[in-house]
Structure formats: structure tokens, C-alpha cells
Amino acid sequence: MGRYVVRRLLQMIPVFVGATLLIFLMVNVMGDPIAGLCGERRCDPATAAQLEKEFGLDKPVWQQYLTYMGNVFTGDFGTAFNGQEVTELMATAFPVTIRLTVIAILFEIVVGIALGVVTGLRRGRPVDTGVLLLTLVVISVPTFVTGLLLQLLLGVKWGWIRPSVSSEAPFDELILPGLVLASVSLAYVTRLTRTSIAENRRSDYVRTAVAKGLPRHRVITRHLLRTSLIPVVTFIGADIGFLMGGAIVTERIFNIHGVGYQIYQGILRQNTQTVVGFVTVLVLVFLVANLVVDLLYAVLDPRIRYA
């Protein structure tokens, strides 16, 4: 197991370098990194040259990348457009997005798995068909449309919630945005659980459990769920990375000042440091989440052994 972890960590390095380099290049294409630094007007050539030298922008891109990564690993993510340290922005933005993600994951676990179990055990019945159609609709409607519609209905028409989230973004204000963020994954979790349950329900070991004279609830919780949820748990684990990266749309709709908002601002103001910094952290989260999922697999399924 230990050797496996080390090997996986080593494998992560080229992927991490590749992904951050790709982002670095994209951001460099994005435009003039110093354009935002002279206020509203364009910098005059002399100042521009001086600034370029100061930030090492006159060097080749690969050197800039190395310098940047060197700084990142000492905890220096550079400066944002308003002179704030990028790390400071992160300290305010990440807790918000993490709260949002936690709520989304909770929705996936509670609602998604419950719906999946119910439909999986009642395959072909009206409940099953209804939920399946609903999941299909949720998957088909883009998140931003779902978000806008729910905001319209719950926030504007019925007034159940505040249509936009305050800057502190406490848990209770994030419930609806969390649901919106989770919506597509929620539909997947439902379908995945349903398929998994329906498949395993006919399995030999479930038949054995019934033949042993176990009560129905024990057959379901201990024998059927335990195995059926393995792919679901790993899906949800891997989803953490996706949700944090995809939160930008939800944050835009509900005006949440999280990671997506900061990146969006960074792009608007052409601030490379902010964009690269945040995306680097997101890539790391994605890679670590996937590693954890792989290890989780081994914990959940004793048949898997890492050599």
C-alpha cells in the first residue's frame, strides 16, 4: 500500500506539471499581464519595460514558469490586481467554495443515494420511471439554466430565499446554490446507485443472504448496499474536484464570492497571478481527490490490493 501511494504520487508530478504549464501558457496568451497595473490607462513604454523586468516578464516563458512554480512552493502566489496577496484572496475565497462543495456533496450522498436505492429496488415501477425521467431532465438542462430558474422561482416569485448570497456566505444561504451545483452530479449518483443496486440485487450473494433467513432490512443494508455503494462512493469522491472547478457558474448566478468569482475577476482584469494561482490549487485538489478515491477503493473492496 505504501509503495503504491508513493508510485501514485510520483505519477501525479508530470500530470501536475503538464496541467499547470498548460494553464500558464493559456494565461500568457490571455494578454498583457501588466496591463492592469497602471490603473485605467495603458502603461507608458518605459514603465512597462521596467515592470516587465521587475516581474521577469522579459524572460522566456519556460523560465517564467519555473520561477513561478518555485515561488508557489515557498507559499508565494504573487499579487492580485488590487495589490492584495493572492494567498489572502485564497484565504477568503476557498472557505466559501468549500462550504458550497460540502453542501453539494451532502445533497449527492443523502438525496442521490436515497433516490438510487429506492428506484433500484423498484425497477420498472412508476416511481422508478418518474425519477429516471427527472434525472434525465436534470442532466439535460445546463446548470446555469437550472440555477436561474430556481432563483426565479424560490428567490423572486415565492421569496423563500434571498436570491443572492451575502459576502460572508453562511451555510444556510448556500443551501440552494449547493443544490444547483450538485444537480447534475446528483442525477448521476441516482442513476449509478440505481444501476448498481439493480445489478447486485440479482447477485448470488444476495440470494445467499436471503437463504440464510436474514431480515429484509439486513439483506439490503449489510449485503446489498455495502457492495453497491462502492462505485458510488468513489464517484462522489472524485466529484469533489469537479464541483470546485465547476462552481464558477453557480457562484456567478448567486453572486457568491468564492473561488470561481475570484478567477472570473482575475480574467476580467487580466491578472495572471490570480488566475494561475487559483487554478493550480484546483488542479492539486483534483489530483489529490483522485488519489484518495483510489485508496478508498482498496479500503471498501478487500478484493483490491495494490502491489
Binding site: 493559456m26 446555469f144 439554466v145 432563483q151 457558474v249 483510489d294
Partner: protein, 326 residues
């Protein structure tokens, strides 16, 4: 090392979770348990191919028929929008802004006083163009690279696998924001290019996997033992069997690419006005959501139905091509 069991690029494309995504039409699961099922005594006619069997199934599947008709309709109106509307999407009258449904203008007017019906009809063109062209690009690039890697293996295969890992690690919408924010060209091409750039790894993975599976089939091994050349093996024996999953995933991906284009346009980096796109219209309508929700609902509905049609079509094709369900 375990294979990942999730579909890494759901954000772009992929509803291919865990195999069956059937629509609740329950297969007779009992057949194998009910002894003496039809297979023992079935008609011993000439063997039909997977494709003709699938086509026979599809024609009788109402889900397929309905979604195919919707798609056909969309393609027709995106080629000839004037068939069902006489207006122009760019003729707007601010005096009529936010007005509701009225004769000749069934969907009412949006915040700029443009006719929502006409704009919704013309919006189909963008979505269909982006969906079809991006899918073509992704399918060609992804399946060729994936098939080559799967067929020849070796260093090229490992390198390709690492490259796809890199692309999977980048959040799609963020990538789109960064890359498309600098582009000033207001055509569908940058969006299509971006989708192809980030979408090909998914299809290359599918193609690689199915080529490797097909390669291990006994008849392919036999053909190889009989001295068939690599190109003959690939084209004649492997490709016909490996292409089914690629087609299924590409069909479903097409729907999600349409959704992605709308999302990027909503965020302001896809297409920009005066282009006509459902994403732009939804974005433009969202500030007026209180007074003129119709301007938001119609393009949203059109978008949802379009994406749904492609996803259901892909689902139906998957069911028809999946021999396990037979």
C-alpha cells in the same frame, strides 16, 4: 493499479456512468433465470449483424424515434430558419421591450425589444453548428489518436495516456474562460476549437479501450495468426467492432457540447452579441427575470429540449448496440 471507474470528463461530455443508462424500460431480467428461454429454440436464421439488429431495435424504440424527429426538426430549422419565421433576429424595437405574447409574436419580446420567437428559432443554428462540428472534430481527432495508441501500444500509448490525464485535470469551464476571453473573433470557430482541444482526450480514451478489447477477440487473433497486415486487421476486423462505443459517447457528447457553448456564452466568453445564441439570450434575459421571465424561459426550454434529444438518442443507440442486453 486500479482503473478509474468514474468518467473523468463529465463536465464536457459523458453520461456514460456505469454502463446502463436505460430509460426505465425494464429488460426482462428474468430471462436467464427462467430456464429454457428463447435462445435454445429460437429461429436458426442467417446471422444478422450487430448493426442491422440494432437498427431494427431502434426503429421500434419510441425514445429513439421521438428524439430523432426532434433532432431532424432542429437541423432543418437551423439550415432554413425562414421556413417557420419571417422576422429577423436582429430587428428589435426598444419600445416593445419586455412585452409579453401578442399576435405575430407568440413568445413576446426580450429586454432589448427583440422578438423572442425569432431569436429562439435562429439560436438553433448556433447550437447545432457548434454541436455537430465540435463532435466531428473531437470524434476524428480522439478516435484516430486513441485507436493508434490502443493498437500499437508501447511508448506512444503511455505518452498519450499521460497527456489525457493532463487535460482531465483542467476544469473545463475555467479553461474555456481563460482561453476564450482573449479571442475577439465573434464566430463559432473559437468555441468549436476550444471544445475539440479539451474534448478529444475523452473520446481517445474510449476508442483506445474499445480497440484494446477488440484486439483481444479470438477472431482478431486468428486473423493476425493468418498473417493479416496491421492495416487490414485494423480496418476490417477491429474498427467495425470498436466503433460502437465511440458513436454512442459522441452522440451524448454532442448534447453536452451544446450545453457547454451556452454556458460559455452565458459567462460572456463564448459567442457575443450581435451573434444569436440561446446562451447569450438567457444571459441577457437574466437581469429582467422578474418582469419578463418569458424571455428567459423560451430559449432555456429550447436548449434543454435540444440537449435532452441528443442524450436520449445516445442512450437509445447504446441500448441497441449493447449486446449484453440482448
Amino acid at each position: 493499479m486500479p482503473e478509474q471507474h468514474f468518467d473523468p470528463d463529465r463536465a464536457i461530455a459523458g453520461t456514460g456512468m456505469g454502463g446502463t443508462m436505460d430509460l426505465g424500460v425494464d429488460e426482462a431480467e428474468s430471462l436467464e433465470k427462467a430456464p429454457g428461454g428463447p435462445e435454445g429454440t429460437g429461429p436458426q436464421g442467417r446471422p444478422r449483424s450487430l448493426w442491422s439488429d440494432a437498427w431494427r431495435d431502434l426503429r421500434r424504440n419510441p425514445v429513439f424515434v421521438v428524439s430523432a424527429l426532434v433532432i431532424l426538426f432542429l437541423v432543418v430549422i437551423s439550415l432554413w430558419p425562414s421556413l417557420i419565421t419571417s422576422g429577423s433576429p436582429l430587428t428589435c424595437d426598444l419600445a416593445k421591450a419586455q412585452e409579453g405574447s401578442q399576435p405575430g409574436h407568440p413568445f413576446g419580446f426580450n429586454g432589448q425589444g427583440c422578438d423572442v420567437y425569432t431569436r429562439t428559432v435562429y439560436g438553433a443554428r448556433t447550437s447545432v453548428a457548434v454541436g455537430v462540428l465540435a463532435t466531428l472534430g473531437v470524434a476524428v481527432l480522439g478516435s484516430v489518436l486513441g485507436a493508434l495508441a490502443g493498437f500499437f501500444g508501447g511508448v506512444g500509448d503511455s505518452v498519450l495516456s499521460r497527456i489525457t490525464d493532463v487535460f482531465f485535470a483542467i476544469p473545463v469551464v475555467l479553461g474555456g474562460l481563460v482561453l476564450l476571453s482573449v479571442i475577439t473573433s465573434n464566430t463559432v470557430w473559437p468555441v468549436i476549437g476550444f471544445i475539440v482541444l479539451l474534448g478529444w482526450p475523452q473520446l481517445s480514451r474510449i476508442a483506445r479501450g474499445s480497440v484494446i478489447t477488440a484486439k483481444q477477440n479470438d477472431y482478431v487473433q486468428a486473423a493476425r495468426a493468418l498473417g493479416a497486415s496491421p492495416s487490414r486487421l485494423m480496418l476490417r476486423h477491429i474498427a467495425p467492432n470498436a466503433i460502437a462505443p465511440v458513436i454512442v459517447v459522441a452522440t451524448i457528447a454532442l448534447g453536452t457540447y451544446i450545453s457547454l457553448e451556452a454556458t460559455l456564452s452565458y459567462l460572456g466568453v463564448g459567442l457575443k452579441p450581435p451573434s444569436v445564441s440561446w446562451g447569450i439570450d438567457i444571459s441577457a434575459a437574466s437581469p429582467y427575470i422578474r418582469n419578463a421571465p418569458h424571455a428567459l424561459l423560451w430559449p432555456s426550454g429550447a436548449l434543454a429540449v435540444t440537449v435532452l434529444a441528443f442524450i436520449m438518442l445516445g442512450d437509445a443507440v447504446r441500448d441497441a448496440l449493447d449486446p449484453k442486453l440482448r
